[in-house]
């Protein structure tokens, strides 16, 4: 390790991931990266760019279209001295490896007392006509299974820190990134956070009127709603869950005990959204609320490809604002003003202004 003093810098999420991988690989030569397209010119949305030049062919690999066997291979490698980082360009592909992840990786240490230090990056998303088989959230499915850690970084800084933490974790970790976050930027902190620190929910914005609990991309929708509310004198607390395999109920409860209002925002269809667990656990613990808790989740149908249709298929800042309005007993007019104050994306099917397809 060199002695150069690194200034605090701003990075976008993709670069943060790449830096996280690169720094981890420098520190630990047992790490290797594998995935369809990892060393190709597009380099997983740029996030693996240059890694092959830096670390060589044997540590940065492409792979056949064999998600299931490649996951098993990575488990086997992780059991024998290597630390694999396996990448799926869409989380939807990972369903082909559900047996390896759920039946094998999640249970191996419990059974055999042997660690499985495996990291699987999976990209979730929406938009630009990705449609029903390329834009599901799906992490909630894996989070039902004890034994898999689920990291849900919402900011570039968390992406970098969590990538390093994941690659340092002796457990299987699913690293879930939302395609809409890739261009977002944040200040990167120098000091390295521990896994325990990173698993703590983080209060991103203080407030007293209501608490919004969100994760991954929904954190940004929540912040958008909270900022609009702030313009009208309502301070909303925004909590980023950060991990999906356990929820930091202490932090959430402390906030809700203060704000007396709870809104949860999630990317899964409403029926069995992981968000229900947060509401349910707090209510089981007898927390007292001024108004009923509210879950903003996605509609109970697949995401249609057409952007005309998809527009209605995502519950975002507007829906969160509506939930806030209900919790604050706002009038229709007051809500209208808040909605008008939301920062609006260019179009709902692109992550940012510069995006122009094709994926």
């Amino acid at each position: 390790m060199s002695d150069i003093v690194i200034e605090q810098q701003t990075l976008n999420y993709i670069d943060a991931i790449r830096e996280g991988i690169s720094e981890a690989m420098q520190a630990d030569e047992t790490i290797f990266v594998i995935g369809e397209g990892v060393p190709d010119p597009k380099a997983i949305f740029g996030s693996t760019q240059g890694l092959r030049q830096q670390f060589g062919e044997h540590r940065v690999l492409d792979m056949p279209l064999s998600e299931n066997a490649m996951t098993g291979m990575c488990i086997g490698a992780s059991l024998n001295g290597l630390k694999p980082l396996l990448i799926h360009q869409r989380i939807d592909f990972s369903l082909l490896s559900a047996d390896q992840l759920i039946n094998q990786a999640a249970k191996w240490h419990y059974l055999f007392h042997q660690a499985v230090p495996l990291v699987v990056r999976m990209i979730i998303g929406k938009g630009w006509g990705q449609g029903p088989q390329h834009s599901q959230a799906l992490w909630g499915l894996y989070a039902q299974v004890p034994g898999l850690k689920i990291f849900l970084p919402a900011t570039a800084n968390d992406a970098k820190q969590m990538m390093k933490a994941a690659l340092n974790d002796p457990n299987p970790v699913l690293f879930i990134e939302h395609r809409w976050l890739h261009h977002t930027e944040s200040l990167i902190e120098d000091n390295e956070a521990t896994i325990n620190e990173l698993s703590k929910a983080m209060v991103l914005r203080q407030g007293d009127a209501a608490t919004i609990v969100a994760s991954s991309y929904m954190v940004h929708e929540a912040l958008n709603a909270a900022q609009a509310c702030a313009q009208f004198g309502m301070e909303i607390e925004v909590i980023d869950l950060r991990v999906g395999h356990e929820f930091d109920y202490a932090t959430i409860a402390a906030s809700v005990n203060k704000t007396k209002n709870l809104i949860v925002a999630d990317l899964h269809p409403m029926h069995l959204s992981p968000g229900h667990a947060i509401i349910s656990q707090l209510m089981q613990n007898g927390i007292q609320l001024q108004t009923p808790p509210r879950l903003v989740a996605q509609p109970n149908h697949p995401v249609p490809t057409s952007w005309y249709l998809a527009e209605n298929s995502y519950q975002a800042a507007e829906a969160i604002a509506e939930a806030i309005a209900q919790s604050q007993n706002l009038t229709a007019l007051q809500l209208k003003k808040i909605l008008a104050a939301l920062s609006q994306p260019p179009r709902t099917d692109v992550p940012n202004r510069s995006f122009c397809g094709p994926f």
Partner: protein, 322 residues
């Protein structure tokens, strides 16, 4: 195989239509009105055209992410394709699918979906149904060389061979999966079609850029399948010209060896078919007439398609269950 001139004209016309529609999509894509990924078939048109020539509308064809040619070669609805790419109500899925999910049951195009390998067993299920029902139809499953790495394909070949199902597997070997060359994914020296043969299906291997070759092999395989001789697997060598996904060229990225694309362009399936026509004595202006007809067809379908309504977002929740 020599093909009668009328048929050859048909085949040429289809190849040409597919080429032009794909070029048109590429041209228009920057307008940002086709807001979905597109995987173009340019360079690979002869495969679908040569196979489809032996199918009828009761047969069932299943395909993957790169489905435009497979769809169009069955004379499936052009306007519905264009509208689907634009996310419109008059699209073949009412906009719900986009380029990666096409269907035209009337013409036998029974569905394409983009999870690599996923429709291979589904096609086999169609073949299973035909056999159970003692119907004479066949199923066709298109797959790429990359798809041949998915375990489900082997499971499917095994079951198809076991039950001698009426199914044709058409493997388009364009040597790439996205930017990754075959030899980075499958062992050198491996023959895909020999491997398929070892699974227990009958196998043929040919040049996917030569319409006469494709047409002949498909004729042979499909006749055997219809005669109850069980599943066939045709491997066809071909090449994708544009980028894997999207409207552009990407040779500058350097993932293909220098000159490879040029060499394959010199073996253009459209040009090859044209040469066959000329050799068969067809006059060039006759060919031009065909081409003009196609261009008009595309222009008018494009206009009609874009006249379609935008789908009603309120209806997005409908149809999850029957």
């Amino acid at each position: 195989m020599t093909i009668v001139v009328e048929k050859l004209l048909d085949l040429y016309s289809q190849i040409h239509l597919i080429r032009r529609i794909e070029e048109k999509i590429a041209e228009e894509y920057h307008q940002q009105t086709m807001r979905c990924p597109v995987h173009l078939s340019i360079g690979q048109e002869a495969v679908a055209v040569g196979v489809s020539a032996h199918l009828n509308s009761n047969d069932r064809v299943y395909s993957n992410h790169r489905a435009h040619a497979h769809y169009l070669a069955l004379n499936a609805n052009l306007e519905s394709l264009i509208a689907e790419l634009h996310g419109l109500e008059n699209g073949c899925c009412g906009g719900r699918g986009g380029s990666m999910h096409l269907i035209d049951l009337e013409k036998g195009f029974a569905g394409s979906t983009p999870i690599v390998g996923a429709t291979v067993p589904i096609a086999m299920g169609a073949a299973f149904a035909f056999k159970q029902q003692k119907r004479s139809h066949i199923a066709v499953s298109y797959l790429g060389d990359g798809c041949f790495e998915e375990g489900v394909v082997y499971e499917s070949l095994n079951f198809a061979a076991l039950h001698r199902l009426p199914i044709l597997f058409v493997l388009e070997n364009n040597q790439y999966s996205v930017y990754t060359r075959l030899k980075q994914r499958q062992p050198e020296g491996r023959s895909i079609s020999k491997l398929a043969a070892a699974m227990g299906v009958s196998v043929l291997h040919g040049d996917g850029n030569c319409i006469d070759d494709v047409y002949g092999l498909a004729a042979q395989a499909i006749a055997q399948i219809r005669a109850g001789k069980g599943p066939y697997f045709i491997e066809l060598d071909t090449y994708r010209w544009p980028e894997h996904c999207g409207p552009s060229d990407d040779d500058h990225l350097g993932y293909r060896p220098q000159g490879e694309l040029a060499a394959w362009k010199a073996r253009c399936p459209l040009q090859y078919a044209k040469t066959l026509l000329v050799q068969a004595g067809v006059a060039l202006n006759h060919i031009q007439q065909l081409e003009q007809k196609n261009s008009k067809k595309i222009e008018s379908a494009w206009v009609k398609a874009l006249n379609g309504l935008t789908p009603n977002p309120k209806k997005a929740a409908e149809g999850v269950y029957v």
